[in-house]
C-alpha cells in the first residue's frame, strides 16, 4: 500500500512536470502587421537611331542612287498586358514632296526606297499611322506575347532613290532635301 502511494505521488509529479514543459514550449505570437506594397513599372516605347543624316549622290534617270550610310533603328519597349503588336514605320509628311529643291521640283515618296534588315527595297507608298497619305512604309511588325512584353528589336535600313519613274528622269540639277521620320507604335 505504501509503495502504491509512492507510485501515485510520482505519477502526479511527472504529470505536472510534463505540463510545465509543454506550457514553456508554447510559442507566443504578436499580431500580424501588414505593409501594403505598390510597385509601378511604367509602360514605355522608345526608338533610337544610329545616325540622323543620309546623303545621296544622284545620277539623272538612274534607278539606283544609294544613300551614303545605312541607319539602324533600335526600338525598345516595356508594355502592359493587352498589347498585341509593335509596329515600326518610316514616313514623310507628304507623298508628293518627300524631297524638294524648294523651287517646285520634288522627289515623291514613291521614289524613295528602304531595305530593312537586308530585305527587298520597298517604296514609301502606304498610308501608315503617321505622316501623309500614301507616304509611308511599315518596316516591321512584332507580335507581342507573354514572352516579349519587355523587349527590343533593331532595323538596319539601307536607302535608295529611284529616278526612273514618271517625270523624274527630267529632274533638274539641284539639292533636294527632305525629312524621313521613323516611329514605332504599340497596339491596341
Amino acid at each position: 500500500m505504501k509503495t502504491g502511494k509512492l507510485f501515485r505521488v510520482a505519477a502526479v509529479a511527472l504529470g505536472l512536470a510534463l505540463a510545465t514543459t509543454m506550457a514553456s514550449a508554447q510559442a507566443l505570437n504578436s499580431g500580424a502587421q501588414a505593409i501594403t506594397l505598390n510597385a509601378t513599372l511604367a509602360e514605355s516605347l522608345t526608338l533610337a537611331l544610329s545616325a540622323n543624316s543620309v546623303n545621296f549622290t544622284l545620277a539623272a534617270g538612274s534607278a539606283t542612287n544609294n544613300g551614303s550610310t545605312p541607319i539602324t533603328a533600335t526600338t525598345t519597349w516595356v508594355l502592359k498586358p493587352g498589347r498585341t503588336a509593335v509596329g515600326v514605320y518610316a514616313y514623310f509628311a507628304s507623298a508628293a514632296a518627300a524631297l524638294t529643291d524648294g523651287a517646285g521640283d520634288n522627289i515623291p515618296s514613291s521614289a524613295f526606297f528602304i531595305a530593312d534588315n537586308a530585305g527587298p527595297s520597298t517604296a514609301l507608298v502606304n498610308t501608315v499611322p503617321f505622316g501623309g497619305a500614301l507616304a509611308g512604309l511599315q518596316l516591321a511588325n512584332v507580335a507581342i506575347t507573354g514572352a516579349n512584353k519587355n523587349s527590343s528589336r533593331t532595323d538596319a535600313m539601307a536607302f535608295n532613290i529611284n529616278l526612273t519613274g514618271g517625270t523624274l528622269p527630267q529632274l533638274p540639277a539641284a539639292t533636294y532635301t527632305g525629312t524621313l521620320n521613323i516611329q514605332a507604335q504599340a497596339t491596341p
Binding site: A23, Q33, T36, N38, P81
Partner: protein
Amino acid sequence: MTLRAKLGRIAAALMLAMTALTVRSQGQVLNSGAQTITLTAVLTDSITVALSGNAVNFVLTPGNPNNPGNVGITATTSWTLKPSVGSLNLYAYFSNSASALTDGAGDDIPSADFQISDNAGPFNALTNTVPFGGANAGLQVSSTKIIGTNKSGSRTDSMNFNINLSTLPTLPANTYTGTLTIQAQAL
C-alpha cells in the same frame, strides 16, 4: 468611631476597589480573529509589433536590380514574457513565394526578388520558410535572446526595401501590388 468616620472609610474602600478594577481592565488586550486576504497579481505575457507606416511604393525600372522603396518602415516590438521564454524573433513574410506582388493578370514578382535591409544591414531576399506565411516566402528580420534582464523590453528594426528585377527582364509594364506582413514570435 463616629458614623461620619465609618462612612469615610467605606467610601475610601470603595474608591480603592474601583480603581483597582479599572486598572486591571485597561491592561488586558482584546484581539479579534485574523481574517486573510488572498492577493493575486497577473502580469500577462504579451508581444506587440507597431509599424511606423503601412505602405511602400516602388518605381520600377525594367531589369534593374535596384528598385528601392520610397520609404523605410520601423517595426517597434515590445514584449513582456514569462521566465521560460528563450528568444524573441521578428519575421517578415508573404503568403505566397511565387507571387509576392502581382498585377492580377498573371504577371508576378516572387518573394525571392523582394529584399529587406534591417537596421542598415545587407539586403536579404524573402526565401526562407518561417513560422508564418507561405513556404520559402519569409525572412527572419531579427532575433533577440531573452535573459533575466530583458524579459520585459522592446527593440526597433528599421527596414528598407528593394525589388530586384535583374531576374525578371521580361516583366511587363503594370502596377504590381502585394502585402508584406511583419510578425513577432517568442519561444
